[in-house]
């Protein structure tokens, strides 16, 4: 009787222990990841997420493809078909991620172009009416060395 009571008590204790809330994971890793993402900017963070998702879906697609080929080897047509569909769906997801990545990069490029044009910065050497123009210095330096860039501000062509 005493043994039964002890066993029952141990079971109750084990059950309660399993029900107790698990200690929270230290937030250091998550916080540092978050800080890094904040630091490099929202756009870069978006690109990292896209890249991660893309890799995950690529892995899924590869796994599903392997599964399909194994099923085909086993002459299991139904399983092979399902695995092929899964691989296709994952490949579609990869394509969507790529499309999203290109769109985000285009957006970043457009924003940078607008910022530069507002500053009147001339990106290339075309003689345009701009505030800041970067001209290659005449080739006075000895051959093999890099020519210094001359920055000039103002308007019109002197």
């Amino acid at each position: 009787m005493k043994t039964k009571a002890l066993v029952a008590a141990a079971l109750v204790a084990a059950f309660l222990a399993s029900m107790a809330p698990a200690p929270q994971a230290l937030a250091d890793g998550a916080a540092s990841t978050r800080n890094i993402l904040l630091g490099i900017g929202a756009a870069a963070g978006t690109l990292i997420i896209i890249n991660h998702n893309k890799k995950v879906h690529q892995k899924y697609a590869e796994d599903a493809q392997k599964e399909a080929s194994l099923a085909a080897q086993r002459d299991d047509a139904q399983a092979a078909y399902k695995a092929e569909v899964k691989a296709y769906d994952n490949q579609v997801a990869v394509n969507d991620e790529l499309r999203h990545e290109v769109a985000v990069k285009d957006q970043i490029i457009d924003q940078q172009k607008v910022a530069l044009s507002q500053m009147g910065v001339q990106v290339q050497s075309a003689p345009a009416p701009v505030a800041v123009a970067h001209h290659q210095a005449p080739p006075k330096a000895p051959a093999g060395s890099h020519a210094a860039q001359i920055v000039s501000y103002g308007w019109g062509v002197f």
């Binding site: 501000y153 103002g154 308007w155 019109g156």
Partner: protein
């Protein structure tokens, strides 16, 4: 005789004044113009900057581009003045050394036949 000498001296003096005025005006006019524009750029004064520019150049001056150049000049300290260092009269190209508290900038200006500015550029550093 005395009256004759007086008249001769007076006409000679007048001639000298006229000559000095004529020879000095062409050089100083461009310098004055360049100095006015440079001071206007330094003060971020849009109207004064564009008032002496040609009708094709004036619209190219934007608030943003003017601000960038003005900020660049302010990093050199106070504008002390301009001095002409090179002139290409046939091409109407003029180069000036703009002196600031903490260094020099080269101001390049080109004019059209009407004396309006068709190019105004500033390069950090003294003229070479």
């Amino acid at each position: 005789m005395r009256q004759y000498i007086m008249a001769l001296a007076a006409s000679l003096a007048l001639g000298l004044v006229a000559c000095s005025g004529a020879s000095g005006s062409s050089g100083s006019d461009q310098q004055k113009l360049a100095e006015n524009v440079t001071r206007a750029v330094y003060n971020n004064d849009m109207e004064s900057v564009t008032s002496n520019m040609s009708s094709t150049l004036a619209p190219q001056v934007t608030r943003g581009s003017l601000g960038v150049l003005s900020d660049e000049m302010h990093t050199m300290g106070n504008l002390q003045g301009l001095s002409e260092t090179d002139t290409d009269a046939p091409a109407r190209r003029y180069t000036f050394d703009a002196k600031f508290d903490r260094g020099d900038m080269t101001v390049q200006m080109r004019l059209d036949g009407d004396g309006k500015i068709v190019a105004y550029r500033v390069v950090p550093g003294a003229p070479r």
